[in-house]
Subunit: 348 residues, 3 copies
């Protein structure tokens, strides 16, 4: 049993929010100095994991780790550059019996001019998994809300995401694996097949939590990397991540797995590209388990000129019914998001 | 026992070849943007290890990892730059009872122009080591060949490399360790001692396989790094890896070892430098085991001007019989390779 | 028991000194190409750890690792740039019964011009901890000194550092934790609060020794990173590490901890800034242990123009008694160091 005294000390010491800084390095960015969206996502998830794990260990019972189960739709509000300081603030904003919501904000500060801008705002859902038994979900200690309205809003966000997670769980199982990549046949420029790309990553110890499962942030970084290659191949310009749709982490990836990350264009508007990214995992040494789909998500990229102004994107050449169906679904998501943004603007 | 069903699924799912992509980052390259040969070698080996391990685990028996035992002579056909996408394709091209050959091809794609070029072609030999007992070599499931000629060509490559591995095994034992580096005495410019360099690396978890042995690709990357320092010190220009002679991995390096990698010039032609690289390992905590030579190889570097055109290389100043003997051996390898290239050209 | 023969072999093979090279990469440096002081400190510590561990394992008894307990005051004598080769030489210069002193020298070599300069000289103290039981300190095999004067000088250095370590141990306990960082309130420019910064790091396997404790060099690198952010925020220019006061490593940090590194300006002279850096560790999963101060140190930074010439530093705005007291203590250290440097110059 942990003495009462220790608990009190913790409550004072940590609270529900934390903030910290990190300087952006050349390897975090593309050739023109824009920090990759994937690096930002990885920082956000590390912040959420730390604050969530801390919170869930302020109680009796098994020690546990907060495992990422969902990231809400995330928009990249302004670009971050090499040499800037990223200021990450994380706060626990809702707790249910077995999960918690962390809201994370990233400010980018130019240390030469002192200018600051909001780069990103994200909401992540975690569940505490016991260190003794990764499949045992622990209870989350409740937080105190500033007001009953805040608590009520949190409960609504909780219910909405829960429903969406169940829906995608059903959908994710039926997604067909991407076609193999026959290098022999040259693909027509601006077709889906032309820019489709895959990367492979052997999961090493530095990718993993104390449980020896891949950090959600590491997976998102790989996904952004592939999506960026697809986008750059399609328009041959400097491209940046504009937003990421909600991502649900249904199945874990263990140390020693090989992860294959595949990206393919689904939809293109005048100024944006939607890329579906599929993450498949296989255990190298337990081959009989087969390949399984661990995560999938839609990334939206835009193309920029040298002055960081959006450029028009070449239209996507569609081949076959399957691609047509995906294009129309992408178009629907695009129109839906556009209408939502407009409604939010009018509300303000 | 693994059910039959799982096997079938695997056969369809993976096949004998795979391909994937990776974008080149600033840390992968030298100051003028040329990606280091060592980075390419590391990617190639990772590809070989993944495809080899997958293949060897499609059978009953102990789970195993494919361990690199040999890389055939590898030429760097064209330079790769930061921001380009490296496209790696790997295929199993021959299987003996206890080893397999993987051929890997690296294409570099400029994503701004769409231009592609062949950067590298390599052949690697692996043996499957049991995860239960690293010294137990497993059997390799046979592949189906497209034709009996293909199989016959593979068998010839297999026999040749087997003989060469045995020969170098004998030779490697007698190589004298490099002289210590007394910093006090300034060395004459363009002498062997002037450019001789060493680096030391403490083997950490991210360098290692599931067996806790260093990945062959990690060792090759360190070797290329030292060879590059030697070459740059000799000619004070931008230098790049032109080729690497066949490397045999006779002895493994375990986690917790210190690796000392030493490079010294052996031969210099008008436009190229041959550098011998020696890798010695010592266990930090089992000092009584002593230092042992784990690998050695010859790297050839060329010197480039700003427009990536080859520059003349300063002649090497030879001191003593030992250096003279190594120079002549290097000259013989140089002439042999030149004649071979010429013969291959005439064949085409 | 280890056979006598092995010992002899070792004695010849290693001796008391080693030297090696490493090329500086883009990620090692800031945006104008200056290699971070923290990278140099990390290389120095790795060198000390390797040579110290080797030496302590040349005897019978438990296998052990050399753990860093103290780094003497270190001055960065000249800047190192991307593309240069760092030449690190380490030598064991004193052994007591349970500790040893390693002196490390870093030369930076411009491989394009061949020019070399002394970048850094440092002295580090290690104790050998048993691999069986990290709390068991082993005995250090004695070294042979070149002269009795050398031995006597070493003994004096040993006594001095021992006393200083005891003193700071007492002092470190009373240091108050830094105030939380309320982002809501904008801070006045050039005040202490304005530039105060923190970073957080989840300790992963690649940060750790075979004992699963963080390498001292990794901690110093993080400390330099935060100090650099503080300095850049204060003067909005290119800043570099000028020196680091003696650092004592009183408490270890284990794998799975979260490290919070906080930096705040304590003193500013015309041309230099003193930053106090505090390292606090918390175990993510053993929250009841609470947060503890693992290390603290003072870093001195200078501000440079494009030609690497020192620039004047904006004065520090002091708020409250606490900041005033720290400023005066910083001023005393500054004057003491200045007088010491002057005395050393006159001695030469």
């Amino acid at each position: 049993m942990i003495p009462r005294f220790a608990f009190l000390k913790l409550m004072q010491g940590f609270g529900r929010s934390s903030s910290w800084h990190r300087i952006m390095r050349p390897d975090d960015a593309n050739i023109v100095g824009n920090v990759h969206g994937g690096i930002i996502l990885k920082m956000i998830e590390e912040a959420g994991c730390i604050i969530g794990t801390r919170h869930c260990n302020t109680q009796n019972g098994d020690r546990c780790l907060a495992a990422l189960v969902r990231v809400e739709k995330t928009e990249f509000l302004s670009p971050v550059f090499i040499g800037e300081v990223a200021h990450v603030t994380a706060e626990i904003t809702y707790t249910s019996k077995h999960s918690l919501e962390v809201q994370v904000k990233v400010m980018a500060e130019n240390i030469l001019t002192g200018a600051k801008k909001l780069a990103n705002k994200a909401a992540l859902w975690y569940v505490p998994c016991s260190l003794q038994n990764v499949d045992k979900i622990m209870e989350v200690p409740p937080i105190k809300y500033d007001s009953t309205e805040k608590e009520e809003e949190g409960r609504k966000r909780y219910e909405t995401q829960k429903m969406e997670r169940l829906e995608t769980k059903a959908r994710i199982e039926e997604v067909v694996p991407p076609p193999p990549n026959p290098d022999d046949l040259p693909k027509e420029k601006h077709s889906v097949g032309f820019s489709q790309s895959s990367l492979i990553h052997l999961v090493g110890p530095s990718d993993c939590t104390l449980h020896n499962y891949v950090h959600g942030g590491v997976t998102m970084k790989l996904m952004d990397e592939v999506a960026g290659i697809v986008a750059a191949r399609h328009c041959n310009t400097n491209i940046v991540t504009a937003s990421v749709d909600a991502i649900n982490f249904h199945r874990k990836i263990m140390k020693g797995c090989v992860v294959t990350v595949t990206g393919r264009l689904t939809f293109v508007s005048n100024k944006s590209m939607e890329i579906e990214v599929l993450v498949d995992a296989t255990s190298l040494v337990e081959a009989e388990k087969g390949k399984y789909r661990a995560v999938s998500a839609f990334f939206t990229f835009i193309s920029l000129d040298k002055h960081n102004r959006p450029l028009p994107v070449p239209p996507l050449k569609i081949n076959g019914e399957e691609e047509q169906r995906r294009f129309e679904e992408g178009n629907a998501r695009y129109l839906h998001n556009k209408a939502k943004r407009l409604a939010e603007k009018q509300q303000q």
